[in-house]
């Protein structure tokens, strides 16, 4: 539960969301990622560390460089958290619709 909370804190930050979007398109090094932001390099590093700790990003050594990959599986897991709540309302409203359609035909 704690780890999951961390994931949500991770994506609550706009810079980290921007990093995720960037890396989702292509794996890249910390340097290239940082070059895309006005933020100071150590700040970007901190963001990368948080994203890596909660497994939204994965590191991979490629020669002397470390590339950051977007962990789609983890993101999917996060995305699914909203789903049970949405599903609950969707089911409820589907029921409403079904019930009311009966009233419609009675008219």
């Amino acid at each position: 539960m704690n780890l999951r909370r961390d994931v949500f804190q991770a994506i609550a930050d706009p810079t980290r969301r921007a990093i995720l979007l960037l890396v989702a398109t292509q794996s890249m090094t910390a340097g290239v990622i940082a070059a895309n932001f006005d933020t100071a390099r150590p700040t970007v590093s901190k963001h990368l560390q948080i994203l890596t700790e909660c497994e939204l990003l994965q590191q991979e050594q490629n020669g002397r460089e470390i590339y950051y990959h977007f962990n789609a599986k983890k993101m999917k897991e996060v995305a699914d958290f909203i789903e049970p709540f949405r599903k609950m309302w969707d089911d409820r409203f589907n029921k409403l619709e079904d019930v009311m359609k009966k009233y419609k035909s009675k008219k």
Binding site: R17, K76, V78, F93, M100
Partner: protein, 155 residues
Amino acid sequence: MERKTKIQAEDGRQDLVITREFDLPLDLLFRAYTEPGIIEQWMGTKVLKLENRPHGGYQFETSDGKGNVAFRANGAIHEFVPEKKITRTFEMENAPLGIQLEFLEFEPLSEDTSKLIMQIVYRSAKHREEQLKLPFSYGINMAHDRLEEVAGKLK
């Protein structure tokens, strides 16, 4: 997959917006919220009290199969404009979730379709999270669609 019900939950806010389009004319959608017999059918709850007027109150009760009360909720109605809007509070009894404020807006889309926009305001962003039981995806909507698209390809 068709997603008729949409949830919008922005960053750091203590509210969320639920939107749904119905294959129902506006009057039927509104009746679903105002007639106890109908509410009981789709919400699966007993309506102990429902006063559709400003300063009115309502109370719902749901029992488990054995007749024990599993859930009881109540609230006060502040605004009641037929086929337009209901503003009310909502409180789940004996639950540490706090009282919430609900703004329900009913809109016609066509003769046979209508839309419900429901804004729920919680006491704090934390209460919103608690109510959902699950850590809610703050601000995920912005990044969500694109990331999910990417995730979908990698599945």
